[in-house]
């Protein structure tokens, strides 16, 4: 049952299966570049971390495990609802696709809201690298504010790049809403939904690594 006359079929593909395979492959190739994009920053983190180990552990205690943990849970829930929106398309439940997309976007917006609270807190405590950076060392401990600044630079670069990806993800999902409402995504064809989901889940995976590496490394000391 190959659908050569399907509305979603581009002229340069023979059938929807070929088109689906090609776009999924293309999306994964893009995600490979994203792995290396974030990987470069992770590598920088690893190098500085092994060099300034003690200070990284100390500075990490300034991050709020409660907010970081809640945000981890929020992203995991958003990944679930993203997967469920594709499931809804597979069983031809048009409205359910839209509902799950909206819930996914709500979780994404919640994540960014919590991130904004955290960033505001860091500004308030002068922990943003730059002229106003002021790192108060815990009494009786080794003190290297300039090394702590490197930790916070990495924190803002990594979480900032991640937050930018969340914003892009929200943009992508918002573009899917109208077509989904019009019933474009169904059991026969839902690859735009699938590929956008791949992006969304990838951003979730990045956070899965960011959370322990940034928020939890000082926990065994405190």
């Amino acid at each position: 049952m190959h659908s050569s006359g399907h509305v979603a079929l581009q002229h340069h593909f023979d059938d929807l299966d070929t088109q689906r395979e090609a776009s999924t492959f293309g999306m994964w190739v893009f995600l490979c570049t994203e792995i290396l994009f974030f990987g470069g920053l992770f590598l920088l983190y690893v190098i500085y971390r092994q060099r300034f180990h003690g200070v990284f552990v100390q500075a990490s205690r300034h991050l709020d495990v409660k907010w970081g943990g809640i945000n981890t849970a929020v992203l995991i829930c958003s990944s679930l609802t993203m997967a469920l929106s594709i499931w809804a398309a597979q069983i031809n439940r048009r409205k359910l696709v839209v509902v799950f997309l909206l819930v996914t976007m709500a979780f994404g917006a919640t994540f960014l809201g919590i991130k904004a609270i955290e960033y505001g807190d860091k500004f308030h405590h002068h922990l943003v690298p730059g002229a106003n950076f002021h790192y108060a060392c815990p009494p009786g401990e080794e003190c290297h504010p300039e090394q702590a600044q490197i930790f916070f630079s990495l924190y803002f670069c990594l979480t900032g790049l991640h937050a930018m990806h969340m914003v892009v993800g929200l943009g992508i999902l918002s573009c899917l809403l109208l077509p989904a409402w019009r019933g474009r995504y169904n059991a026969e064809w839902h690859n735009p939904l699938e590929c956008s989901g791949l992006y969304w889940h990838f951003v979730d995976i990045v956070w899965i690594f960011l959370f322990p590496l940034l928020y939890l490394i000082g926990r065994h000391v405190a």
């Binding site: 049952m1 299966d17 395979e21 999924t24 492959f25 994964w28 190739v29 995600l31 490979c32 792995i35 290396l36 990987g39 470069g40 992770f42 590598l43 690893v46 190098i47 092994q50 495990v65 943990g69 981890t72 849970a73 995991i76 829930c77 990944s79 679930l80 993203m82 997967a83 469920l84 499931w87 597979q90 069983i91 031809n92 169904n186 059991a187 026969e188 699938e194 989901g197 791949l198 889940h201 990838f202 979730d204 995976i205 899965i208 690594f209 959370f211 322990p212 590496l213 939890l216 490394i217 926990r219 065994h220 000391v221």
Partner: protein, 109 residues
């Protein structure tokens, strides 16, 4: 007819259950990683954190991202992404970690 097609595609019958199971596992692993980080295991804190994170990432890739049911081309692409990451990390660390060795050699001469 449409459902038939989805079912026939790679024998992947749409079911919600795996998604909820992965969601529950991810939540449990998140709690686990917070708990383990509170113990003082020395260098094994990092090992434990990374093992948990890789397990979570694998679940997301296989189930949420449907790689478990995807073509061999897609699987190969995913693995190649990881291989490139591994090359970048191991070559760079091979440089940085061994830099101090030069001083040791110079001192022994």
């Amino acid at each position: 007819m449409a459902e038939e097609h989805a079912a026939e595609h790679d024998g992947h019958v749409p079911s919600r259950k795996p998604y909820f199971m992965v969601w529950a596992a991810l939540m449990i692993f998140t709690g686990l990683t917070v708990w383990v980080a509170g113990l003082n295991l020395g260098p094994f804190n990092d090992v434990a954190a990374l093992i948990i994170a890789f397990t979570k990432a694998t679940l997301v890739v296989l189930i949420f991202m449907h790689v478990a049911h995807s073509s061999r081309l897609t699987k190969l692409t995913v693995v190649s992404g990881l291989v490139w990451l591994l090359i970048m990390i191991s070559l760079t660390l091979g440089d940085y970690v061994t830099r101090g060795w030069l001083d040791t050699f110079a001192a022994n001469r």
